[in-house]
């Protein structure tokens, strides 16, 4: 029996599961698009509110366009919750639920791209993010994408329950991380992190800045971001923080883009 035919490389014949081999691959990472800002617009928190919430926010994005390169991720919102509910009732697996829910975010992203079209924004599906994002940013003024990552049928079953764990917060963050973006800003309908849900506990304390590990240790009953993003931040290389801001407050996005301390910064 002849052996395998190998291409000569440092990893030739190695097990990519061997810890020592993997540890030996540690090396610096280059930022592909260091000027990029990834702006994630919440589905339920912003999009589902309609024009009074969405249009002022888009105006603020446009007002910042001359100074900042922005790509806009968009979340799914209540239609995803509805199809998750129907899908769970039917017994569908997490991967099927992820594929279905992602379409709701695609709808929202497409609407945002229409509203920004006259200003040169384009809607990019995941394959075009892979192939065309740099060209589109050079030719157009910005891009809008589906915040939900294209995990589809390959979404992980979560530790608890069946809801797909990687939603639009995770997907937008990962776009920022892979391109080495300048910032990832998550736009919600709360000012940031509180020690309890401010919608139900008006006396909750505000947290302007916290590490992902400390936030996990607090074991808050709910978070305004997907819990999985904390794990992603702990393993981050390039984008080591995300900022949560209130998209219902005029000027917050502008401050966040300028690097001013607004909302809550969660860092590695």
């Amino acid at each position: 029996m002849t052996g395998a035919e190998h291409v000569v490389s440092k990893l030739m014949r190695e097990s990519l599961i061997d810890r020592r081999v993997i540890a030996g691959t540690e090396a610096p990472v280059r930022r592909i698009l260091p000027q990029l800002n990834v702006i994630q617009i919440g589905g339920q928190s912003i999009m589902d509110r309609g024009r009074h919430a969405v249009l002022p926010l888009l105006d603020e994005i446009l007002a910042n366009q001359a100074e900042h390169t922005q790509v806009i991720g968009v979340g799914p919102g209540v239609r995803a919750r509805h199809i998750l509910s129907v899908g769970l009732d039917l017994g569908l697996p997490t991967g099927a639920l992820a594929t279905l829910a992602a379409k709701s975010a695609a709808q929202n992203a497409y609407m945002v791209s229409c509203l920004l079209a006259a200003h040169g924004f384009v809607y990019l599906e995941a394959p075009f993010i892979v192939q065309l994002l740099p060209a589109m940013l050079a030719a157009a003024r910005g891009a809008v994408f589906n915040g939900v990552p294209p995990y589809d049928l390959w979404e992980h079953p979560p530790a608890l329950g069946k809801i797909p764990p990687h939603g639009s917060d995770a997907g937008s963050y990962l776009v920022g991380e892979v391109f080495g973006a300048r910032s990832v800003i998550l736009i919600k309908d709360v000012d940031g992190l509180y020690t309890a849900d401010p919608k139900h506990h008006p006396d909750a304390g505000f947290i302007p800045e916290i590490s992902a590990a400390d936030l996990l240790a607090l074991r808050l009953p709910t978070l305004p971001v997907e819990p999985v993003i904390l794990d992603l931040l702990i393993r981050s290389r390039l984008v080591t923080s995300v900022r949560i801001i209130n998209g219902l407050g005029p000027g917050n996005l502008t401050k966040a883009l300028a690097g001013d301390p607004v909302g809550t910064l969660i860092h590695r």
Binding site: T2, D18, E26
Partner: protein
């Protein structure tokens, strides 16, 4: 704000889902108590190793192909391919160039894709098709009509692949992609075809006296904390949370008959099983 959804249309769980937070543990726990529908419970997922089988060319691959053909009348198979030595080359090069993990996944996917194409050429005369992830809605049809279908093993994460804990290699590669296909379809079996008899306490290529492990729980295996394994660590982690796939099997593709035995339900090679017998069992 108006009520987002007319409540009368929704289940009790649905009402909580449209108004609640998806980070709420009690709500997530409530989604646990829903049925687990197995979409294609008669399908078997068979992963053909990249470095272990494909890179061996005719000598390693053709007997496996013949065995697949012989099993077509009796077992429905989703055939996924690994990447192998060309992936190792491009990972080395891309790491040297400073490219991030997501880009490495895009590059590695191309290698698994090449292997899937080659496998498809070898099975073309039996009417076996290759499907991209975007075409997966057609998988059940091809399985019913032709008995097998080919896909590349990498999950379609592309630039959205996550960083590993250590190093720069994408942590979720073709073992993980094939396992997740088996899980989402509620498949009958997940069989990995490699070039070893199964799992050993160390890499048997480097440690000839390593102990063979024919059967072990995923919990016990994680506890042993071995430096090297026969399967990506991500598979073991995901297996702990899987609803459908209770065990995975590893057979030696260089030994004729092992794949057939595994498809027939015999305990050849190594079986890693989930020992948890809780609500998900």
């Amino acid at each position: 704000m108006p009520q987002p959804v007319e409540n009368a249309m929704l289940t009790d769980l649905g009402k909580r889902l449209v108004s609640g937070s998806l980070s709420d543990e009690s709500l997530m726990r409530a989604t646990e108590n829903t049925p687990n529908l197995a979409l294609v419970p008669w399908a078997n997922v068979v992963k053909i190793g990249g470095q272990s089988i494909m890179d061996r060319g005719r000598a390693g691959l053709m007997p496996v192909v013949q065995e697949i053909v012989a099993n077509l009348p009796r077992h429905k198979m989703i055939l996924g391919t690994g990447a192998g030595t060309r992936a190792r080359h491009i990972y080395s090069l891309a790491i040297d160039l400073g490219l991030p993990v997501g880009v490495l996944t895009v590059l590695g996917t191309a290698v698994a894709w090449q292997n899937a194409q080659m496998l498809q050429y070898l099975l073309a005369s039996h009417g076996i098709a290759f499907l991209e992830p975007e075409g997966f809605a057609s998988v059940p049809h091809y399985l019913m009509e032709r008995g097998a279908v080919i896909c590349q093993g990498m999950p379609p994460y592309k630039l959205w692949e996550q960083n590993p804990d250590i190093g720069r290699i994408p942590p979720q590669r073709t073992d993980t992609g094939c396992f997740l296909i088996a899980e989402v379809f509620g498949a009958r079996k997940m069989i990995f075809v490699k070039d070893e008899d199964g799992l050993y306490s160390a890499d048997p290529k480097k440690h000839p006296h390593a102990e063979f492990i024919p059967r072990i729980s995923v919990q016990a295996l994680l506890q042993r904390d071995l430096d090297d394994l026969i399967v990506e660590r991500a598979v073991l982690q995901i297996m702990l949370n899987a609803r459908h796939i209770r065990e995975i099997q590893f057979v030696n593709g260089l030994k004729p008959g092992q794949l057939t035995a595994a498809l027939d339900g015999e305990p050849v090679g190594t079986i890693i099983y989930n020992a948890e017998t809780g609500a998900r069992a």
